[in-house]
Assembly symmetry: C2
Homo-oligomer: 438 residues x 2
């Protein structure tokens, strides 16, 4: 019997176990979510073989989700550390993990990740092609690329980045455009190089129907990669980027026809004033498919702090319609992130996602902020630590300056405004003796 | 002879030394800047006694400036550390430093700060009133408050936060509004308590003309404090906040009549979707006076990371018209910031300011990003470190993973997209042998 994807089921009005769980988690009626999944406005990436998955929805009206990248590179290959990164992702409730390993025993690592991870797992099969196939880039065939996709699908991967949009037509627009940073997508640059060296069309574009059949079989969500995303403020919203986005729109609708769930990937480096327009453009060109963005990084001059440049861009993107944020760490552009970088990246992405949810009025998003305000007014420090995204850090900070009473912190000391107001509104006098005592 | 403030001079068409320096620094014609300063759309805070000042302009069309708060509190009083914070501010080119000391030998510390600091110096005289006067809060008289202002003005302070807008009328609106966090402005809460305990009108409101005369004498820019800024997402853009802003608009125009330069201070805690409207509101209600914002913090649930919540809010604010960002550190709400917190706060604010300058098209803002792109494509690591806001951190990160060649970093290893594209566009084959060697 052929697999029914979440989209197939939703179109038939069937409430799957996963859809039911997501509706409950989001606090929305199942029938609303059915309509979103049936029409492609939301996806529930859930490979039929990923048994440990806690399913999540990505799309219109749902909480903004975040993804944590990890995986080994040839220069930095410690499997243990990469699994610790996965644990950090779980600790901070990241909804997705992408394994970008491109060196060594990727299969073994991926299997372990799928087995233990409640987060949805994503991969970029192109990265893995060289290692898996033991062939040099130009010797890989179109069929080889598809074989890697099948292998990942069989292993339980929930979504895969496929750069099918950088076909000859989009690549021509890119070449005419004279960009500063050319192609900064790893997978996109490899495919472009492969096309150049072999003279062939993009294999995922040329064999798109076959690709969709494989993805459908395991209900893998296709995440249409943006090979031509801008790699600098100079290159954003240019012809190449938008030409590829037009292709991604066409590919989205082709996938939907076959019942395959789709996300579309987006920029990149981009100044703040262009972000809202880019979100609108994706939603229009791709008929409302969920938008998964990497950044956008709102300036190029802050290497070492790109978790912040991308938190700014990601928050604006999500407030304007992006549904899914890929985290960026302080190590971006500089090195493979270590555990501390990963944590900083996760927290920054969580902040961006939540700030956007407040802005776009996602159901229930304000509750936690409201409770934080209540805890602050009451000087309920334990309550504050519980409500904080990273309560451990907040607590450590607060405890690090011991000489004060619990009804203030060392920042303002006895001049704490909350303390002053609690007293005066309670009818008490506010005394601030000049000797610093109270 | 009476002092001519920068505003007085501009109105007479006189190009002061300070105005000339600012025009040069911003790359705009002196006559354009004259018009901005004459009309109050821009200020050049420059106390006639601050001899070491490198003057900066704050206002429409100029680069977004940042302020670094420091100063000792009763719980945490180490003068040496606070001076090191000033050095950090100088190292990262922060344009302003506010000394918020509220305990001990504030005079001595402030004198040292003014003497050594090229940054403009701001203070909040109310904080200092208790310590300086050696009186308890309720025993302070209106004249006492003015005396402290005069003392700070004589010491060379360039701008002072004066919470003159929380008069009886605005305080009534606040009391009717039933806010979650009441008043979270330190100075504002002290004035409110003083008004409550003494039954008097806000002393700075009642004696506003006398106050302006003192400020005029030294060309101190008044920074009209927002005592009623929201202290939680729940309280933003409420009646109290806007009622006070209306007062600040009236006070702005009164100051301009006397030739006193004005900035207006703004929120606070606020979800992203309200920020643009707040910027527009300030520019309209306050006739285009420069807007100096603290945050806005776009969520309440990230104590330990409020440099990020405020970088998001500050970037959006500045892109929508705010002219001056007060930094917020990771220690906000938790403790007095240490040196590491201060550095994190400064860099986050610099990122927000620069990202906004890109977005609002400030002259020359894109140049540095363009050069960073060029350095990245060429793998010119030293160039990247030179162009980075914090080149030291970027360099340390890059150097921390030694095993790689200089034409990539350890993040993507041999799969580096920049490397791949440089090769293939140069007509070279891209080889990625499966054993991980090249």
């Amino acid at each position: 019997m052929a697999t029914k994807t979440q989209m197939d089921s939703a179109r038939e009005g069937i409430v799957t176990r996963e859809l039911s769980a997501v509706a409950k988690d989001e606090g929305i009626p199942e029938k609303d979510l059915l309509a979103l999944v049936a029409s492609g406005q939301a996806v529930i990436p859930a490979n039929i073989r990923h048994k440990s998955l806690k399913p999540h929805g990505v799309g219109r009206g749902l909480r903004t989700k975040i993804n944590v990248n990890l995986g080994i590179s040839g220069d930095c290959a410690d499997y243990g550390v990469e699994l610790e990164k996965a644990d950090l992702a779980a600790k901070f409730d990241a909804e997705a993990i992408m394994d970008l390993s491109n060196y060594g025993k990727t299969h073994e690592f991926r299997a372990k990740l799928v087995e233990r991870s409640p987060a949805m797992i994503g991969t970029v099969p192109v990265y893995d092609a060289v290692g898996y196939l033991e062939k040099d880039l130009k010797d890989i065939t179109a069929q080889d690329f598809l074989d890697v996709v099948r292998c990942h699908a069989e292993e339980g991967v929930d979504f895969m980045t496929i750069h099918a949009g950088v076909n000859r037509r989009a690549a021509d627009v890119f070449l005419e455009g004279k960009r500063q940073m050319n192609i900064v997508s790893r997978g996109g640059s490899l495919l472009f190089a492969w096309m150049k060296m072999t003279g062939n069309e993009n294999p995922f574009y040329e064999h798109y129907d076959e690709l969709l059949d494989i993805l459908h079989e395991y209900d893998v969500t296709i995440s249409l990669g943006d090979a031509l995303r801008p790699g600098s403020i100079r290159d954003s919203t240019d012809g190449a980027q938008i030409a590829e986005l037009i292709e991604l729109g066409n590919l989205t609708r082709r996938a939907w026809k076959k019942g395959v769930q789709v996300m579309v990937e987006g920029p990149g480096h981009m100044s703040m004033d262009e972000i809202a327009a880019n979100m609108k453009l994706e939603k229009r060109l791709c008929s409302g498919a969920p938008f998964y963005v990497l950044g956008p990084l709102v300036t190029d001059i802050a290497p070492g702090y790109d978790h912040i440049t991308s938190a700014i861009g990601g928050a604006i993107a999500a407030a304007n319609g992006a549904d899914f944020l890929c985290y960026v760490t302080p190590a971006e552009h500089l090195r493979l992130p270590d555990l501390s970088d990963v944590k900083e990246g996760i927290v920054a992405a969580k902040i961006a996602a939540h700030a956007a949810d407040l802005a776009k009025g996602v159901k229930g998003a304000r509750d936690r902020d409201f409770r934080m305000g209540e805890a602050r007014r009451a000087f309920d420090w334990d309550g504050m630590f519980r409500l904080a995204i990273d309560g451990e850090k907040a607590k450590a900070y607060y405890k690090s300056v011991p000489a004060h009473d619990p009804r203030r912190c060392s920042m303002c000391g006895k001049m704490c405004a909350v303390r002053t107001m609690n007293r005066i509104l309670n009818g008490e006098d506010v005394s601030l003796e000049p000797d610093g005592k109270e």
